[in-house]
């Protein structure tokens, strides 16, 4: 479940130690853009210590490392043995970029530790153009994320709230993630004062197929989760689908329909996901 991945500056002890209380599905302890160049070493040590001692209450722990050209290898060497769930890899532009960093991750892992997954961040026109090969580059790629601020700079255009300029990039990233059967995570909405804008932007992302959204402020989390919460109608539909599947199995029926529409594997998968979400959010009892 990656409805929200919340960025927290890696050199801010208050944020780093409180990451588990904001209610996000995951936290991204940021060693890259949120840390000044002179404090990279301090942030690396702080995040490493926090991963070993702070209780993140079941949140997925992700660390955004620096690019390899900016001491990313040192980040990987120090952070990986502290067992984060995943690393976010910035400015990924090809499958080779991913493979190079996964090799470093493997060599930094302690014997027997849970494999550290990766989330490539696609934030250049080249990265977006190679979204599918990046998504399929390795079994450790568990999600691909869109970073629209740098992407639009690369396009040579301005970022707008409507997001017209990133429509193609969103579609490509969402499609590539679906094709690779991993999560696509949308770019953050950067105006933290504009909740209506955030809701609209998240609905757009959800409708395009993204499984969640990057978040830059704890106050964005509830709004994003509300958009991703299944509606009563969606839950009823999902329950009918799963019931029909069960009845079909019992009868040995090959083709199953609900309300006159054929039910196939992707529909069942969507219904399962809806029910999983509903259970997680305690929405089943009230339906």
């Amino acid at each position: 479940m990656r409805r929200t991945l919340l960025f927290l500056p890696g050199n801010n002890p208050g944020n780093v130690q409180s990451g588990g209380v904001f209610g996000a599905d995951g936290v991204i302890l940021d060693l890259e853009d949120a840390v000044s160049p002179l404090e990279k070493d301090a942030a690396r040590n702080l995040v490493a210590q926090a991963l070993q001692t702070v209780d993140y209450h079941g949140c997925e722990t992700v660390v955004r490392v620096n690019p390899l050209v900016a001491k990313g290898a040192k980040d990987i060497k120090v952070i990986v043995p502290c067992e984060p769930d995943a690393l976010m890899l910035p400015k990924i532009e090809s499958a080779a970029d991913v493979k190079e960093q996964i090799a470093l991750i493997k060599s930094a892992e302690k014997p027997g530790q849970k494999p550290v997954l990766v989330m490539p961040l696609l934030e250049t026109p080249m990265g977006v153009a190679h979204a599918l090969e990046i998504a399929l580059s390795d079994d450790r790629v568990t999600a691909i994320c869109l970073g629209a601020e740098d992407y639009t700079a690369g396009l040579g255009t301005a970022r707008s709230k409507e997001g017209t300029e990133i429509f193609m990039a969103r579609a490509v990233v969402a499609n590539a993630s679906a094709a690779a059967n991993i999560d696509g995570v949308d770019t953050p909405f950067t105006d933290v004062q504009d909740e209506a804008g955030l809701i609209k932007d998240t609905m757009m992302a959800k409708n395009m197929g993204f499984k969640g959204k990057l978040s830059i402020n704890p106050r964005q989390i509830d709004a994003i989760h509300n958009v991703y919460a299944p509606t009563g109608a969606e839950i009823s539909w999902a329950l009918r689908v799963l019931q029909a599947i069960e009845e079909g199995k019992n009868r040995g029926t090959g083709v199953i329909a609900v309300n006159g529409k054929m039910i196939d594997a992707p529909i069942v998968s969507r219904a399962n996901r809806t029910i999983e979400l509903a259970k997680l959010l305690n929405l089943l009892e009230v339906e």
Binding site: P13, G14, V16, Q17, D41, A42, L46, A48, T53
Partner: protein, 91 residues
């Protein structure tokens, strides 16, 4: 010239650490200022000392100004200050 290094800030939840190398045999000397000195002063000093020993730094003067840092922050800031002073190796 003695090696020196510092890390951390004076913001809430943080601790500012200044380390200075001293002559062998001096041991680990800690000057601590803290908003929670009475309650946690001994524990903070113990944590600082443990980090130094773990990194094989046995002769050092440390000035620490604590603003309510948790153990993980204290450990990270002491380690960073010692690394910046060149008194212990980075990874």
């Amino acid at each position: 010239m003695n090696k020196q290094g510092q890390a951390g800030t004076l913001e809430s939840n943080d601790i500012h650490i200044v380390v200075s190398e001293t002559i062998p045999g001096t041991g680990i000397k800690i000057e601590l200022t803290s908003t929670v000195l009475l309650q946690y002063g001994t524990a903070i000093k113990r944590t600082i000392e443990q980090v130094c020993k773990h990194l094989n730094v046995n002769d050092v003067v440390i000035k620490a100004v604590d603003k309510g840092a948790l153990d993980c922050t204290i450990q990270a800031r002491v380690k960073t200050a010692l690394q910046r002073a060149g008194m212990t190796k980075e990874a």
